[in-house]
């Protein structure tokens, strides 16, 4: 991740010209330098699949992948994603709507209930499996520690990640 460095005398509301790749497509946009990535996604770009929860990086609802790493979009100023590749929940399914193995597994193994944490959980699980294709239960729990869920008690989420890891159709 490269951080854009606005001029030293810049004010937080000054706009910066931001270039990044979002869900596979290049985006160029003028944005106030201190705007949070979560607001850019939800408010400016209409990508409301990324949810906003606690606003302080604790709940993980706003988890997105920045150059493949899980980041909470509520803590990132937009300058943090200059020239980076950002993947949100909207960017996972194939062009024909085909779900990824992680998404499929979450629908089949009790990975969600109310669904508010699900986009974040799915993004985090996607990052985990990219890094470690066959994690054991402890590694899954450790990796997902920043993605809170009040509904499932986590068993369904762990089972979903295990099922996704075992899914041979996983691309």
């Amino acid at each position: 991740m490269t951080w854009m460095r606005p001029p030293a005398d810049a004010h937080p509301t000054d706009t910066v010209d931001l270039r990044f790749v979002l869900n596979g497509r290049p985006v160029t946009r003028s944005v106030p330098a201190a705007r949070r990535l979560v607001d850019l996604l939800r408010e400016d770009l209409g990508l409301t699949g990324t949810k906003l929860g606690c606003g302080i990086g604790v709940c993980g609802l706003c988890s997105v992948l920045v150059d493949g790493a899980v980041m909470t979009a509520c803590l990132l100023p937009v300058t943090a994603i200059a020239d980076a590749t950002v993947l949100t929940i909207e960017g996972l399914a194939g062009p024909d709507g085909e779900l990824t193995a992680v998404q499929r597994a979450f629908t089949e193994h009790g990975g969600f209930q109310c669904g508010i944490c699900t986009p974040g959980q799915v993004m985090a699980a996607t990052a985990l499996l990219a890094e470690d294709p066959h994690p054991d239960e402890g590694s899954i729990r450790d990796f997902l520690v920043g993605n809170l869920c009040r509904c499932t008690g986590y068993a369904g989420i762990v089972a979903s990640v295990e099922a996704a890891a075992a899914d041979e159709r996983r691309s």
């Binding site: 929860g53 302080i56 629908t107 969600f112 109310c114 508010i116 520690v145 008690g153 986590y154």
Partner: protein
């Protein structure tokens, strides 16, 4: 030979359908980000609301100056209590001002509302409002509130609107509500005292529990707009939309038809979203500006000013005879209701589970009182099994203390005193089926009898919960293309209500699930419903869906000769096809039947209503018994508790959604881990000080151990196919 279980009596097709993991109605939307929650909704011309809350727990308002806020560019309206015409809101007792006009009763009590072009401007404007408050002595705990000379927090309570008939004045003006369970010598204080004085052992303890937030991760969010006819459209996170409509109509003194409650997915509830607080001020702002207005609770508002779990102070006196049997129980449970009682949905304004100290045990002489009390703290409301969590903690903790004092194994002590068939529980419940001992014996074989590990301790608790009563109306629309639509006003906060309806309807009528869509509508477009809560939905919606499936089959039966002239006796739907009664041969597909019997563009509509049989006082009703047992290791240096084993034994009916059912049990256990080991809303001088998720904390994936679940399926359950509630 034992009687067949309800599930066995269902026949192979239904059994096979229910054994399949369910496909959740809303699954795709939730894993792709397409599901729309309240804060996701895009509305043209939207204004954003922010509120100014009181900085002190108790005070008189001398003046409010909004001039500077009004003058700020981008500010469209600033309202204070003077603009609310003295209106109050609530679920039963309308005691909470939309905006305070004379006094503030807790830190966070709303003094002013701002609507502006952006949330940032609204926030900045709220900070520019100047308030002059005269501090009054605050009442910060339940004992102080019940003192004879305590300041009366609601001197005009008798004039408040109460949606529950006639409200009897409480015995002390600071009491919100009272619920009691009294039987045996408990009816007569002197007789009860005599039982205690002649008992072999008497134990008296006081237990306290703190406030907790429900912990739903989606903040409360509301959008209100007013249409050309003057109808207020309320898109909100409330899980009881029809009740909200009625409450809004009562608060504004306007007909119900002027309020339509809508909404999409709800991001968690756990009891907390039955009472939402933004709708009223947003409507006033929408009317003042002529534009749609949205409010999303900030974390500080969520933790500091939304309906939290009642803190409690519970004094339990329990008498035991020489054989270690519970003889008498006198319990005084005081629940800190905070500044307003408006979050309480039951007419008694107390907590239904507040008398459940020893609900699964036999006690001959009982006097339990659960009172909710006004204080100058955050208003408390419903959080998962309201009152029951606190009462059960006290009762089960005391049983452990008693067992230890008597030198009896805690599991053995529970088995000895657990309610047996034909007996009533201490809270006065009469059970249609009693399974307390079975549940405890399963704990014994699954965990208790295992070899003990040095340095690890064990604990067990037994509880019982009712299956929610009531009635529910459902309807379907069958189109000529074979689609079956079930519009409903029941929100789905994640527990799977829509999927229950779809699966039960499909299994009953023997049609393909994929042709059924369960769609949430506004309150104007579906029949009245009580909403989600009180363990009612699987029971009632399931039974209504079953009636709907039967109604669909009957409707088809009557018209079969018209659709299939060659039809013989016994022809019926099977797996989405009409089959011959004798040969099982396919006579028509469901699509063909629909095409022949339904006019294109004129769907057939069928409506059913299910009313659960009412149980009079003393009549047996349906319950689920459950026990949780854990093994823990305590770090001797830090005191940190680590769960090394966790077991839940649950008395369950036929399971409709097997994946969600398990998830409910696992999620409920995780919430219990949070309550027992992790969570607390801290409070200082009346103000909640844990104002973020970092402070309030919720269990994370590493805090919750894998839960072993033992299900004891029952032969009866009042829901569809013999189902009960879960979690």
């Amino acid at each position: 030979m034992s009687a067949p279980t309800a599930a066995e009596a269902l026949g192979p097709e239904v059994l096979e359908r229910l054994a399949r993991p369910e496909a959740r109605v809303e699954a795709r939307g939730k894993v792709t980000g397409a599901a729309v929650y309240a804060d996701d909704r895009v509305v043209e011309g939207l204004l954003h609301a922010r509120f100014l809350g009181s900085p002190i727990p108790h005070g008189r308002i001398r003046s409010i100056d909004t001039a500077r806020a009004r003058a700020m560019p981008g500010v469209r309206a600033v309202l204070t209590g003077a603009d609310t015409e003295g209106r109050r809101f609530g679920r039963r007792l309308l005691d909470r001002p939309i905006l305070a006009w004379d006094r503030v009763l807790f830190v966070g009590d709303r003094l002013a509302a701002v609507a502006a072009d952006t949330p940032e401007i609204a926030e900045a404007a709220a900070a520019e409002i100047e308030v002059d408050l005269e501090e009054l002595p605050p009442v910060l705990d339940v004992r102080a509130a019940l003192a004879a000379d305590a300041p009366v927090l609601h001197p005009d309570a008798a004039s408040y609107v109460y949606l529950g008939g006639e409200r009897k004045p409480p015995s002390h003006p600071n009491i919100q509500g009272r619920l009691a369970a009294i039987h045996g010598a408990g009816e007569d204080p002197e007789a009860l005292a005599a039982v205690f004085s002649s008992a072999a052992h008497v134990f008296e303890h006081v237990f306290r529990t703190p406030r907790e937030h429900a912990g739903y991760l989606e903040p409360q969010a509301t959008i209100v707009w007013v249409d050309e006819a003057g109808v207020a459209h309320v898109w909100t996170t409330n899980k009881t939309p029809y009740n909200l409509r009625d409450q809004m109509a009562a608060a504004f003194g306007e007909p119900k038809e002027r309020f339509e409650i809508e909404g999409g997915a709800i991001g968690g509830d756990f009891g907390g979203k039955g009472y939402t607080v933004n709708e009223y001020a947003c409507l006033l702002l929408a009317r003042a500006t002529g534009r749609p207005v949205k409010a999303v609770a900030s974390p500080a508002e969520e933790f500091g000013a939304m309906n939290v779990r009642h803190a409690s102070e519970m004094r339990l006196r329990t008498a035991v005879d020489a054989d270690g049997r519970l003889l008498a129980h006198a319990a005084d449970l005081l629940f800190d209701g905070g500044a307003y009682a408006g979050a309480k949905p039951l007419p008694h304004l107390s907590l239904a589970g507040g008398v459940n100290t020893l609900a699964a045990y036999r006690v001959p002489h009982v006097r339990i009182e659960a009172r909710t009390v006004y204080t100058n703290t955050v208003p408390a409301g419903h959080v998962r099994s309201p009152g029951e969590v606190q009462a059960l903690f006290a009762g089960e903790s005391q049983l452990d203390i008693i067992a230890r004092a008597l030198g009896v194994d805690p599991l053995e002590f529970r088995v000895r005193n657990a309610v047996r068939p034909g007996e009533a529980g201490a809270a006065g419940d009469h059970f249609r089926e009693v399974r307390a001992v079975e549940v405890l014996e399963a704990v014994r074989s699954e965990l208790w009898d295992r070899p003990r590990v040095a340095g690890r301790g064990r604990g067990v608790a037994l509880g019982v919960r009712h299956v929610g009563p009531g009635g529910l109306t459902l309807r379907l629309r069958l189109s000529s293309d074979g689609r079956i639509q079930v519009p409903t006003g029941i929100p789905d906060q994640g527990a799977g209500a829509a999927t229950v309806i779809r699966r039960v309807l499909a299994a009953t009528a023997s049609v393909d699930e994929a042709r059924i869509s369960v769609v949430r509508t506004s309150t104007a477009d579906s029949p009245q419903d009580q909403g989600v809560g009180g363990s009612r939905v699987t029971h009632l919606a399931g039974r209504a869906a079953q009636l709907l499936g039967e109604a669909l089959s009957e409707w088809l039966d009557e018209r079969l000769p018209a659709a299939v002239p060659t039809v013989g006796p016994g022809a019926h739907l099977h797996d989405d096809r009409l089959v011959d009664g004798a040969t099982g041969e396919t006579l028509a597909t469901f699509d063909e039947l629909a095409a022949r019997l339904v006019e294109p563009g004129t769907p057939v509509e069928l409506t059913v209503r299910y009313e659960a049989p009412a149980h009079g006082h003393g009549e047996p009703a349906d319950y689920g018994f459950a026990a949780t047992a854990v093994e823990v290791e305590v770090d001797r240096e830090t005191g940190a508790v680590r769960l090394t084993d966790a077991l839940l034994v649950a008395d369950v009916g036929t399971v409709i959604n097997p994946v969600a059912h398990r998830g409910q049990l696992e999620g409920g256990f995780a919430m219990g881990v949070g309550s027992a080991l992790i969570e607390e809303l801290t409070i200082d001088g009346g103000a909640v000080t844990s104002l973020s998720l970092a402070d309030a904390r919720l269990p994370a994936s590493t805090d919750v151990p894998p839960l072993r679940i033992v299900q004891l399926p029952t032969t009866i359950g009042p829901g569809a196919f013999g189902s009960k509630m879960a979690g």
